[in-house]
Each structure stands twice: as C-alpha cells, then as structure tokens.
C-alpha cells in the first residue's frame, strides 16, 4: 500500500489578543494543532472528528496548503503542501461545507466549465466525470441556476462535483453534511460511499454528524485540544471505552424477582441487560419469561462513546 498522507509532529500556533484591563491587550499563543501524527494509505476512508475548536479544520488547511505549519512536517501525495501548493492542488479535491468554492453569480454549468480550464482537464475526461456526478447526485434540475439561488443541499452537491472534476487522488471534506436535511445527507453519504468503494480515492472527512462516520469510515481519528486521542477502528473505540450491546425487554406486567444481571426500569415493566460477547444466550434465557411483550437489541451508541471521549479530562 502507498502512503498518500503523512504528517509528523504537525503543529499550528495562533497568537490571540486577549483583553486584559481597559486598554491593555495581552498576546497569548494558542496551539490549535499540537503535534499531530498521521499516516493515511491509498483508498482509506478516514473520519477525522473532535469537538469544536479541536483543530480539525486547521489540520486540513495545513494538509491542503492553505496554512503554513508552525512546526512539524506534512506530505500529501509526496508533495509538501505549502511550497508545492499549485502542484498539489491538481491532485487533491477540497470541499468546505461552510465555504463555497463555486462562483456565486454563475450557474453550476459555467462554474464547472471554468474549473475545467483552471485545472486544465482534457475535455473528454471532464465530460465523463461530470456525466457520472450528474447522474449520481441528480444535478440536472439546477445546472443553469446561479449558485446564489441554490438551496444548501443543491449547492453541496455542486461543491462535491466541483471538487471531483479534475480526478483528485485525495478528497478532503470539511463538514460536508453540515446543515443538510436528511434526504440530502443520504444523497451525499451514498455518493461518497460509492466513491470510496472504488479504492482509488482517499477520503478524509471531518464531521460532527457521527452517522456520516458510521456509514463511511472504517478508521476514526479523534482529536481534542490539537492532539490525537484515538486512532483506530470504530470497534476499537467501543472496546476501549467498554461500550457494550444491551438487550431491552418490555413486559406486560411488572416482574417479581428480576433475573440475574438485569436492571429494572419503568416500575418493573422493563428489564435492561448489558451484554459482553454474544447476545443469543441471553435472549434464549429470556424466552421463557411470562408476559414478554417486546425485546430489542441496542447496538452501542457511538455518540455516547465520543461524548465520553470529549469530556474525559487529560486524555492521552
């Protein structure tokens, strides 16, 4: 496997002026990214998450050549982002959910055409990619509407297309589903899943919607206060924080003596079991209960785990 993104000790400091007294202002150095190490291989789909202000966007901006790192080094597609910015730009695609890459007054059709010239993409390649995106993202209804009149969902589909028309090897997505309704979110997610399934494009995705991650990413990197606090699969995260599946049993009438290991809720009408390993034995033992009305198996909730991760002080 080839490594497409490599960062070692990546760090970005900002000086912030803080009000101190009536006229005095203090300069304070804040490290938005504080020594991030990252290796991403070709074809990976990486979820990069963290609370607000953790340094997600700043990391992405350093990897795409927008910001100069204060320390450490980064290579994307074998290029150093800032000095080789224009060469790198041809090989990566960038979507910022909160910031448009499109031309505000132009219809998508013209924007896409302009991008073809900017990236010097051969016409045939460009047309093929555009055809594919138009099909998958259903763009045909609004190709001639000026971007400023598009809805957020439509615009985001346009942004995704714009980022892909030059056939990038790595796609950076900074909150691509922010503010979208359920249907648009689904459209964006299944498009990205489809894209990642090919195995040629590497995806790096930041989001606050963990459903994005569950749907798309096998690997999850969590950062907090500019440091990586978790790097591994979603399962590994669950294992590490001991989140387990639960079996919830609803009864028609209150249970007298609760079975072993059960937590009683709702005046004895509900039993909750926390299960390590296989669920089947537990379910089998419950089948004999009188007045059994319903039985649900609850998968561990990633939001819960991540909340615990964000709140835990002094994470490694």
């Amino acid at each position: 496997m080839t490594v497409v993104i490599e960062a070692r000790g990546l760090r970005k400091e900002f000086t912030v002026k803080v009000k101190a007294g009536r006229l005095r202002r203090e300069r304070r150095v804040v490290a938005a990214v504080d020594g991030v190490d990252l290796r991403v291989e070709r074809g990976e789909m990486l979820g990069y998450i963290g609370p607000n202000g953790a340094g997600k966007s700043t990391t992405l901006k350093m990897l795409t050549g927008i910001l100069v790192p204060s320390a450490g080094e980064a290579r994307v597609c074998g290029l150093v982002p800032v000095p080789q910015r224009t060469r790198l730009a041809r090989r990566i695609g960038v979507v910022f959910g909160q910031r448009s890459q499109l031309w505000w007054d132009l219809p998508l059709r013209d924007s896409f055409d302009l991008l073809r010239h900017i990236f010097r993409v051969p016409a045939a390649e460009h047309a093929a990619r555009l055809r594919r995106c138009r099909g998958l993202l259903d763009l045909d209804g609004f190709m001639d509407t000026p971007v400023r009149q598009l809805s957020l969902g439509q615009r985001m589909r346009g942004e995704l297309t714009a980022a892909l028309l030059h056939g990038p090897e790595v796609l950076f997505l900074d909150e691509p589903t922010i503010g979208l309704d359920v249907v648009s979110k689904q459209a964006v997610r299944s498009f990205l899943a489809d894209l990642g399934a090919g195995g040629d494009v590497t995806l790096v995705l930041t989001t606050h919607d963990l459903a994005d991650i569950e749907r798309l990413c096998r690997r999850l990197v969590v950062i907090d206060h500019g440091r990586v606090v978790h790097d591994g699969s979603i399962e590994a995260l669950h294992a590490r924080y001991g989140s387990r599946r639960r079996v919830v049993v609803d009864l028609d009438e209150p249970v007298g003596e609760p079975p072993e290991g059960a937590v009683v809720e709702a005046d004895g009408r509900r039993l909750v079991f926390t299960v390590d390993g296989a669920v089947a034995p537990v379910v089998a033992s419950l089948a004999g209960l009188p007045a059994l009305r319903d039985l649900t198996i609850v998968e561990p909730d990633i939001e819960e785990v991540v909340t615990r991760l964000y709140l835990s002080p002094g994470a490694p």
């Binding site: 700043t58 927008i66 910001l67 060469r87 960038v94 910022f96 890459q101």
Partner: protein, 248 residues
C-alpha cells in the same frame, strides 16, 4: 455585464472623477502663472504621466483591494486550493471595464501635454515618453499590492492602504517642488514616487532638476519600478504565509 444600469452609472462617475483631477490642476493655474516653478503645460505633463500610469495600474491591479474581504471572511481558502497563483486569481476575478475610461482619459492628457509642452524630441525622449508611463504602471501596481498585502497582518486596514495608492497618485500629480521638508523626502525619494512622473517630465522637457539631482535620474523610472515590484513580490510572499484563515 449582468448589471447594465449600474455599469453606465459607474462609468460616468469614473470619468467625472478623472476629469476633476485634471480640473484641479487647471484651477490652480488660474490663480498663479507658475506652480513650484512649472508652467501649465509643463505641469500638465506631470499630471498626464501620473494619471495615465495610475489609471492603467488601477485597471489591472486595483482589484487586489478586495483581498481585505477575502482575508477577513476566509474566502481566500477557496483561492488557495486551486492550481494557480493566488495573486493572478485575485486580479482576474473581475475586469473592471468601468475603469477603462480613466485610462483613456489619462493617456489623452499625456498626449496633449507632450504635444503642447514644446519638447525637443530626441530618440531617447521618444522612448522615454513610452517607457515612463509603463514603468509608472508597474510602480503603482507594486504600491497597490503592498498596501493590499497589509491585510494579512492587520485584518481591517480600512483607509491605510488608500493613503499610499490614491495618496501616491495625488502626490505624483504635482511637481515635487511644491512639497517640502521630510514629507517630500519620504514620499519622493524614500518611497520613490518622484520617479513616476516628476523626473521623467524633467527629462522630457530637458530642464535641470531644481533640487540638484543629475539629469540621468529622469531615465531611472524603469529601475525604480523594478525595485518596487521586487519589494512588492517579497511583501506578498511573506504576507500570504501569514494568512490565518478563519475558524470553521
């Protein structure tokens, strides 16, 4: 060309503004026969060189003023992820045709002044009358870039940049002999504005410099422009590395 009425309005205000610049000079000569030791026709040559160069620079590079907005809103991010230089992209974002009128007018003033000032044409002077405005364009462009790049350090630069761009144009519209003291030394020599219009005009007229610099200084305009352009490029490169983007 999406907004026609507003284009016509802007075009006419631009013509009006440029005409006013020249009228100011003419009014000055109603009051006094000479200003700073220059007659009307001689002074008109200075105005022509200055306004022709400034208008062309404003047409080509004036757009850079928008950088303030791009830096403050973080929209420069989008510019930086495209495979082109950031500066050309910002300049080409919009070609302000309305500024074209000023350019034509400035060139017209220069042509009239050159024809009526009684210049003793030699090959050197013919080439100077072509090269000097071009050097002036480069010089003013450099000033535009530097004053815009200040936005990388101080986000809200407001009118600071204009002091040097429009201030520089006003400064170069008059023979520098009308100014005095540290102000003249700073603007004319420290920042090089004297080489845009004043010294080339002297060389065209064949007049010795009342301030005592040798005659060849009039032909130094291209060198001054090259120095200014190099300085501007350096400031821009350092500035763009200072770009902090915005939280998102």
């Amino acid at each position: 060309m999406s907004y026609r009425a507003s284009f016509v309005l802007e075009l006419s205000t631009n013509v009006f503004a440029t005409v006013m610049d020249v009228l100011t000079v003419l009014v000055l000569f109603r009051v006094s026969r000479t200003v700073g030791g220059f007659t009307l026709h001689e002074a008109l040559l200075v105005v022509g060189l200055s306004s022709c160069a400034f208008a062309a620079a404003d047409l080509v590079v004036g757009n850079i003023e928008r950088i303030k907005f791009y830096v403050r809103t973080g929209m420069l991010d989008a510019v930086l992820v495209r495979p082109l230089g950031a500066l050309p992209q910002l300049l080409l974002m919009d070609l302000p045709l309305r500024k074209f009128s000023r350019c034509v007018f400035g060139t017209g003033v220069l042509a009239v002044a050159a024809a009526t000032a009684g210049i003793d044409w030699t090959p050197a002077r013919v080439s100077l009358v072509v090269v000097a405005p071009l050097a002036g364009v480069v010089f003013f462009s450099a000033i535009f870039v530097v004053s815009a790049a200040v936005a990388f350090w101080w986000i809200d630069t407001g009118e600071l940049g204009n002091a040097f761009t429009y201030g520089g144009r006003d400064f170069t519209s008059y023979p520098i002999t009308v100014y005095s003291g540290w102000f003249r030394r700073l603007f004319a020599y420290g920042m090089g504005f004297a080489f845009v219009s004043y010294y080339p005009a002297l060389a065209l007229l064949g007049r010795p410099d009342p301030l005592g610099l040798p005659d060849w200084v009039g032909y130094a305009a291209p060198s001054a422009a090259v120095v200014a352009a190099a300085a501007a490029a350096a400031v821009w490169r350092v500035g763009i590395r200072h770009y902090r983007s915005t939280g998102s």
